[in-house]
Amino acid sequence: MTAHPFSAADSASTSGRAVTPSFWSRLWTRDAPGYLFLLPWFIGFFGLTLGPMLTSLYLSFTDFDLLTSPNWVGMDNYTRIFTADPKFAASMRVTFFFVIFSVPLKLAFALAVALLLNRGMRGLPLYRAVFYLPSLLGASVAIAVLWRQLFAGDGVVNDFLAIFGIEGPSWISNPRYSLWTLIVLSVWQFGSPMIIFLAGLRQIPQDMYEAASLDGASKARMFWKITLPLLTPVVFFNAVIQTIDAFKSFTPAFIISGGTGNPINSTLFYTLYLYQEAFGFFRMGYASALAWVLLAIVAAFTGFSFLTSKYWVHYDE
């Protein structure tokens, strides 16, 4: 395959005039194998990502309901979202509450465990795998079901509290606690950011700590003055990824609330509400508009994070 272009160049140099193969012949002879290897990705990107995204953007301006042809309604769906949909506001409140508490808690927990594991202990690979396991399992239906059993009124958590004479509430059916149960479930899946923190911690040169120890810095001072500032690129990365993830969180709320977002909409995540609109009420056009609003919110959050990063993220070079 590769012989063609070289032979063309050779003939050009011997004959003394440039022979430029046509675009199509170059595409076929030289570039075709490359594109062939790219084909699975192209199919995935155009067929499963870009295509559905553009379709959903179009549908967000229609009243599509799966059964009849979509009719163009202009900005009606978006107007309704922001002016006449109390559930939108409720789901926003729940989602923002979830994001604001689950992301920092998860990152703090992940960093704490990473700091413990970074002390060169024996069996580190095993601990790393064990701590990472919840991240692999955490978003699955099975774990959500298990979580429901653990935190139910007659679940294991309350059985444990009963040993100390404490009568626990039904954590998932009490609106005061239900969202916190989901936040705890999210924090429990700290493995992924923990692994990234651990990699970041390994990148901090040991002699910085040695220089600080010669200066008499305590462990706490080293953490606040050296570790944390030098880890800010990793903190930033984890924060952005986990924030996006938290906005998209769906399965645990769906399973634990039985797809309702109850009690009293206390677990009505934005994605759950979107799902209800799409597959409960078949308001595909409206659900598409909700999806684009979510995309805009996540993009705004991410953009804001990048804008502020120059004030608190320290890059070495």
Partner: protein, 359 residues
């Protein structure tokens, strides 16, 4: 500043593997001592043990009469300059210099003049507001040294501080560190694998090899009177020539050595007996091509000529196949492949026995 450091039978082991084997060394107050040796000889480990960054497995470290083995690094009154500079990349130069003082709880009013003074000594005042990434290698090294100065330690430790600099900057910084030592007068311990750095900077050189001290002495002492073949080969550039030699006869005042196809009479006793195989050592700069300026070492073929400007280096081969480097003063015109006859001053020749010890 009159800080002395004494190492008594200092041992370092990692598990069952001993890497430093009972070092005894005294560093006198105000001395500039250089630990030199090849990679893995234990010089940095020794320095880190003095700093408190590595626990001492056995023996004692005494600074100014006080045993320091269990004293934390910060309480030893030392400052260390690292090979990698170890500057905090998120802090300005000023903050880097002030970090240790802030950690010690000093007030701003006390920190400011000390930082300013160190910056003036090292001529980095205009850089105080910059971050380390905006500095050149040499500037970073100055900041690293400044961070040590600002703490006003009794003992400075340098761990290969010039390794990351280019050749020109190394020479410049070498001079500056030597000047700094003259100005401050502190005791300084400096680690390097570069024997030129050791020779030019040290009051006293400690040559280390495989976790042992091979020899301690002034640069010229090591150069003129190496205790063994390792020191003889390590100190001096280009390195000393070593030729196989036979001791033909020896008495209390002289010895006759056969090497390079010729007999050489030396006016000194040799600690070996006639018939022993020895190693004959002579430095390239102690060989001449001038007849009558020494004893004839032999005829040899010139394989390579290097013109250094101030000197001409000849790489030659003796008839028995042994190699010999000759350093001639000035710019000499010698044809490749030509035959030359080399002469040596017998007083500047060295002999080493089968164990490598000076004979």
């Amino acid at each position: 500043m009159t800080t002395s450091v004494v190492l008594q039978k200092v041992v370092k082991a990692y598990g069952d593997i001993e890497v430093v084997h009972g070092i005894d060394l005294t560093i006198d107050p105000g001395e500039f001592v250089v630990f030199v040796g090849p990679s893995g000889c234990g010089k940095s480990t020794l320095l880190r043990m003095i700093a408190g960054l590595e626990p001492i497995t056995g023996g004692d470290l005494v600074i100014d009469g006080e045993r320091m083995n269990d004293v934390p690094p910060a309480k030893r009154g030392i400052a260390m300059v690292f090979q990698s500079y170890a500057l905090y990349p998120h802090m300005s130069v000023y903050k880097n210099l002030a970090f240790g003082l802030e950690t010690a709880g000093l007030k701003k009013a006390e920190i400011e003049p000390r930082v300013q003074r160190a910056a003036e000594i090292l001529q980095i005042v205009p850089l105080l507001g910059r971050k380390p990434r905006a500095l050149s290698g040499g500037q970073r090294q100055r900041v690293a040294i400044g961070r040590a100065i600002v703490r006003e330690p009794r003992l400075f430790l340098f761990d290969e501080p010039l390794s990351n600099l280019d050749a020109e900057l190394r020479v410049q910084m070498r001079v500056e560190i030597a000047k700094l030592h003259n100005d401050l007068g502190n005791t300084m311990v400096y680690v390097t694998h570069d024997q030129v750095e050791a020779m030019t900077m040290a009051d006293k050189i400690v040559v280390l090899n495989s976790g042992n001290i091979e020899q301690v002495g002034t640069p010229l002492d090591l150069y003129n009177n190496p205790r063994n073949q390792f020191v003889a080969g390590f100190i001096g550039s280009p390195k000393m020539n070593f030729l196989t030699a036979q001791l033909k006869s020896v008495d209390s005042k002289s010895a006759l050595v056969h090497t390079g196809g010729h007999d050489l009479g030396l006016n000194r006793a040799v600690a070996a007996k006639a018939g022993d195989t020895l190693t004959f050592g002579v430095r390239p700069e102690h060989i001449t091509l001038n007849e009558g300026s020494g004893l004839k070492l032999g005829d040899m073929r010139v394989d390579l000529v290097e013109q250094l400007g101030g000197a001409t280096l000849l790489y030659t081969t003796l008839p028995d196949g042994q190699s010999l480097a000759i350093s001639l003063e000035g710019q000499r015109s010698v044809a490749l492949g030509s035959e030359v006859t080399a002469y040596v001053d017998p007083d500047r020749c060295h002999l080493f026995d089968g164990t490598g010890a000076a004979a």
